[in-house]
């Protein structure tokens, strides 16, 4: 994993803090209005990162990661957007939009996998529309998989460590994150981008991903 230079942290990392808003029908206060929080706090509740892995398989592939509190819903997904082909066969009629193929692995909730691709609309014209091909655990097996911690606690009791990270992985994670924290601390900022609770984050995060001609998925 390519380390982020603390002096250039803003080029690869966006942070934010939630302001007052609405989440799933509830009015929620801003972070600074939460009980016990300093009214001038610049503590981040949102982070988006652009990462690169320097090996032959992932070389040149930007990896975007975002995590935050007070998003519209709690969801964990991994989306793999495939490269556009160099030649679009169906572009000539001007009515067909390029549809990127996206493989989405939904970790929770609604566990499953979906493949997003362009399909020809039935009929004589050569028009494409985006469609999803879905696999849902709940539908295919008639029941939802167990909660994540049910499985982990059982594994811990059985001494099965496959799903647990090792201490050297934890240390490597902190080494990576500490460089980002160093970069932020050296800036001594008194302001932080705000985003409304119930939104998908600050505009700066959209700009981070737009720099490579992409946009965040709609989870």
């Amino acid at each position: 994993l390519r380390h982020i230079d603390p002096a250039k942290v803003d080029g690869s990392v966006v942070r934010g803090q939630y302001a007052q808003g609405h989440v799933l029908g509830q009015n929620v206060p801003g972070y600074r209005q939460e009980p016990g929080v300093d009214a001038a706090s610049v503590r981040e509740t949102y982070v988006a990162l652009r990462l690169y892995i320097d090996n032959w398989r992932w070389g040149g592939v930007p990896i975007f990661l975002r995590t935050a509190k007070r998003m519209p819903k709690k969801v964990t997904t991994i989306s793999i957007k495939f490269k556009d082909p160099p030649h679009h066969l169906f572009h000539s009629n001007g009515r067909t939009e390029s549809v990127a193929n996206i493989l989405t692995i939904r970790i929770q909730p609604d566990e499953g996998i979906s493949l997003h691709f362009g399909s020809k609309i039935p009929g004589p014209t050569m028009d494409l529309a985006p469609v999803n091909m879905e696999f849902r655990y709940g539908t295919s097996f008639g029941r939802e998989p167990p909660e994540a911690y049910e499985r982990l606690i059982l594994d811990a009791m059985l001494g099965e460590s496959t799903l647990f990270i090792r201490d050297d992985e934890t240390e490597a994670s902190w080494e990576f994150i500490n460089r980002i924290l160093e970069g932020w601390q050296s800036q001594k900022r008194r302001e932080i981008p705000l985003y409304a609770a119930g939104s998908w984050g600050p505009d700066e995060a959209d700009e981070l991903i737009a720099a490579v001609g992409a946009k965040w998925g709609q989870p």
Binding site: K73, S114, I121, P130, Q218
Partner: protein, 381 residues
């Protein structure tokens, strides 16, 4: 809102907490699976192609409008598997204690007319009380839309109001669909012209309904030598029913923009209660453009264009509505008295809009000219 209208909006919806909508859907689909195939849970596939977010009229709207939109959404979901999120703003005085927003869920399985399986729709109705309640709409839509599928915002009963609510909903939408026929406000097309610019893609059913009529008018200029006459306009007259004024403006906008008069100067305007005149000048050429309303048309269910006459190159080209489904055509080379006008149902128009890419460039140009005509003293005095 009357109890009857409330029943139409909610249908057989089941009340749920907004945070419990997804869980409620899972339960409803399990029930549907059982009903359709004797208990096999995988027998109903939750296919979905679009998120359709439809704003419904508020408590002051008439029953007819509520019924029209309800039927339209029902027809739409029969043609396109989708999740429909209905948004309705209600009077804050009628809010249950401590409630800003309420939710109901329903699922509908329509037999597939082309054979095999069912076309499914998931419907969430969100009712918000007052402005505070309506501010819940954008985050709820973000949470409730089906992931990674496109979203269309349908605002088909009035001119969408300016402000953050519409702006935020439009920001999440891949297509905004409006209906200029239901916008009696004086500057509605001017407002639409601004709104269109901030939409990812924009469709107007008022414009799309003009398509068969536009084909017939354009056909008059197909014979060799007649297309050139469009560059030599001597006058344009459009007559509409009182509720069809926006269609009239759009038709004028289309004729002027397609004839090369998009970049014109409107001078010497005059206007009366039901008759408006602009003098259009471009280069050395000046000609009158008239828009008037007529109330004596016999077709009770018809609203829109009644007559369109174009004087060009010394010839007269015209189309006039005979009854609800027929028009007569006239040009220097040709007269036809009873030509069928093949209109489309609104649901078909919306499906066609959803299958399009971007905003219709011809509409964009026609709207710009129509908005310019509407933004003059002749119209606003």
């Amino acid at each position: 809102m009357s109890a009857q209208a409330d029943r139409i909006v909610l249908g057989d919806g089941k009340p749920v907490d907004p945070a419990g909508v997804e869980a409620a859907f899972t339960g409803l689909w399990r029930e549907a699976g059982g009903k359709f195939a004797g208990g096999s849970e995988s027998s109903v596939v939750r296919a979905c192609l679009w998120n359709l977010v439809a704003h419904l009229p508020g408590p002051s709207a008439g029953l007819t409008q509520v019924k029209r939109l309800d039927k339209l959404l029902d027809d739409l979901t029969q043609g396109i598997p989708s999740r429909v999120i209905r948004l309705q703003s209600r009077d804050p005085e009628t809010a249950p204690k401590g409630t800003d927003v309420q939710a109901w869920v329903a699922t509908h399985c329509h037999p597939n007319t082309s054979g095999g399986g069912t076309v499914n729709a998931e419907e969430v109705t969100l009712a918000a009380y007052g402005e505070v309640g309506a501010s819940h709409f954008p985050p709820l839509v973000r949470a409730l839309r089906v992931p990674d599928l496109p979203m269309a915002l349908l605002w088909l009963h009035s001119l969408p109001p300016k402000g953050r609510l519409v702006g935020q909903l439009m920001q999440s939408a891949d297509r905004m669909i409006v209906d200029s026929h239901f916008m009696p406000e004086k500057g509605s097309l001017v407002a639409l012209q601004y709104m269109r610019r901030s939409a990812a893609a924009f469709s107007d059913l008022g414009w799309m309904r003009l398509t068969p009529m536009r084909y017939l008018i354009a056909k008059l200029f197909d014979p060799p030598g007649h297309a050139e006459n469009l560059g030599k306009l001597d006058g344009v007259e459009v007559e509409v029913t009182p509720d069809g004024l926006n269609e009239g403006f759009l038709l004028l906008g289309w004729i002027l923009s397609r004839s090369g008069y998009g970049d014109y100067k409107a001078i010497d305007q005059g206007g009366a209660k039901d008759r408006f005149r602009w003098h259009v000048r471009r280069g050395n050429r000046t000609f009158p453009v008239d828009l008037s309303t007529r109330t004596d048309f016999k077709g009770e269910d018809y609203d829109g264009i009644l007559r369109c006459t174009i004087q060009a190159g010394g010839g007269r080209y015209g189309m006039a509505q005979v009854d609800e489904e027929h028009v007569s055509l006239e040009s220097p080379h040709h007269v036809e008295h009873h030509v069928a006008l093949h209109g489309w149902e609104d649901a078909e128009l919306i499906i066609s809009a959803l299958q399009g890419v971007g905003t219709d460039r011809i509409y964009t140009e026609a709207l710009a000219v129509a908005a310019k005509l509407m933004d003059t003293e002749a119209w606003n005095q």
